[in-house]
């Protein structure tokens, strides 16, 4: 279960939250794990595939890949499948363990805490679900229900609160509404997206 929505103060919407680092840090490990589900890969391959599918304007640094992989290795979510030594640096091939697969599944089925700029995480989740043959529509609906749950709480608070509360809640509500619209639109375009990512 995500963090209890009651714990969310509208005041969390501070400048720091608008950076993506935290969100990205949290999800890179799961993303790389998910990519390994298709088969064992070298670290370099993992970086390239990640950049291709999710990196866009912000490619992953090698250092980040290796530090993440060693963390996953330590947690027993991946194992080293083999080592290639050639002309260049030593290249490890990683494979996902059963514990890793379970971890990916749990991550995908758990709704994200509704937050601004969530879409990069959600997008990653949707694509991974599609790539790994999991139910992307379920994922979206779960997220949708979670969003609406938070919106109900905010609406409730707004009804009881003073004008300042109302304004702050409204701000959150409008952002959540935008997310929800995105969820709706994505749900409507799932088929198209599935064709794209499986190409």
């Amino acid at each position: 279960m995500p963090q209890s929505p009651e714990g969310i103060r509208p005041a969390i919407y501070t400048l720091s939250v608008y950076t993506q680092c935290r969100v990205a840090d949290m999800s890179i490990g799961h993303t790389l794990l998910g990519l390994l589900e298709a088969g064992p890969r070298h670290g370099y391959d993992l970086k390239r595939t990640f950049d291709e599918k999710f990196g866009h304007d912000r490619p992953l640094a090698y250092g980040q890949v290796y530090s993440t992989m060693s963390r996953l290795l330590k947690n027993g979510l991946v194992e080293v499948d083999g080592v290639e030594s050639g002309g260049g640096p030593e290249r490890k091939r990683y494979a996902i363990t059963d514990a890793g697969i379970t971890d990916v599944g749990a991550w995908l089925s758990q709704p994200e805490k509704p937050e601004p700029y969530l879409h990069s995480t959600l997008y990653t989740k949707v694509v991974l679900a599609l790539l790994t043959g999991r139910r992307a529509d379920e994922l979206l609906d779960t997220q949708r229900a979670e969003h609406l749950r938070l919106m109900r709480i905010l609406t409730q608070r707004k009804r009881k609160g003073d004008i300042a509360d109302q304004l702050v809640c409204d701000h959150a509500l409008f952002h959540l509404e935008a997310d929800l619209r995105w969820l709706e639109l994505t749900a409507a375009r799932l088929d198209q997206l599935a064709r794209e990512v499986r190409r």
């Binding site: 709704p111 379920e138 609906d141 779960t142 949708r144 229900a145 979670e146 969003h147 609406l148 749950r149 919106m151 109900r152 905010l154 609406t155 009804r159 509500l173 409008f174 959540l176 509404e177 929800l180 619209r181 709706e184 409507a188």
Partner: protein, 229 residues
């Protein structure tokens, strides 16, 4: 599907086609007394048709609708009309107020249809207009008031017969955010205080956030979002 205990209005496996278009394709629905349920979904998904079927305005092709233990599909048109007059209230997006009648006469109309005397009906109407904060509009005609005021008058009218279910089809669809919020706030508060259930068809999530529960209709199939989490 069994009707859950304590439900006021429930529907199972509703099917309805207009020509070759399937508007409802096995939709389910249930609502408890005093509950506010939002029906969402993309346009053309069949959410308005679901509302029309639940309210007994349109008979479904197949499926069952039970209201307070009565099977709606076995009632004839006159019986369903009588049910709508006495047990249900309605709010639509627009075009529902009779332009020639004054606001208080519009609000009193459902009561008068059930045979209540004019004076008494208008007294009750005035009470509900106060609840909806539109009492200053009594003598005005719908053409002379704003859209938000019009919707509040419409809500007052929906509540005037003390219905057990209020059907609201995009009640804020033609309003700006502020007026929409106000209408929703007053509608849900009034409904809760009267212990009336509200079936709220909307495509706006902020409006749906006034509900207790959400049902999404896609391609004629319904999905209860509560069951997911």
């Amino acid at each position: 599907m069994m009707t859950p205990a304590g439900t006021l209005l429930a529907a199972t496996d509703l099917r309805k086609a207009f020509g070759t278009t399937k508007a409802l394709d096995g939709a389910e629905f249930s609502i408890h007394p005093g509950e506010v349920v939002a029906v969402m979904g993309p346009s053309g998904s069949g959410k308005s048709t679901l509302l029309h079927c639940l309210a007994g305005i349109v008979p479904p092709d197949s499926g069952s609708i039970t209201y307070a233990g009565r099977e709606l599909t076995s009632l004839n048109d006159a019986e369903r009309s009588a049910l709508r007059r006495t047990e249900f209230g309605f709010v639509f997006q627009f075009g529902q107020l009779v332009p020639e009648l004054t606001c208080v006469e519009n609000v009193a109309l459902p009561l008068r249809l059930t045979g209540v005397k004019r004076k008494e009906a208008e007294r009750t109407a005035l009470h509900w207009m106060e609840q909806l904060q539109v009492e200053e509009l009594v003598a005005k005609r719908p053409g002379e008031i704003s859209g938000g005021q019009g919707q509040r008058v419409a809500v007052a009218r929906a509540l005037v017969t003390a219905p057990r279910v209020i059907f609201a089809d995009e009640p804020t669809g033609a309003l700006d955010s502020l007026n929409g919020e106000l209408v929703m706030q007053l509608l849900t508060e009034a409904a809760r205080s009267a212990n009336a259930a509200v079936v709220l068809v909307t495509h706006e999530t902020r409006v749906a956030a006034y509900s207790d529960r959400e049902i999404v209709v896609r391609d004629g199939k319904s999905r209860d979002m509560e069951r997911i989490v």
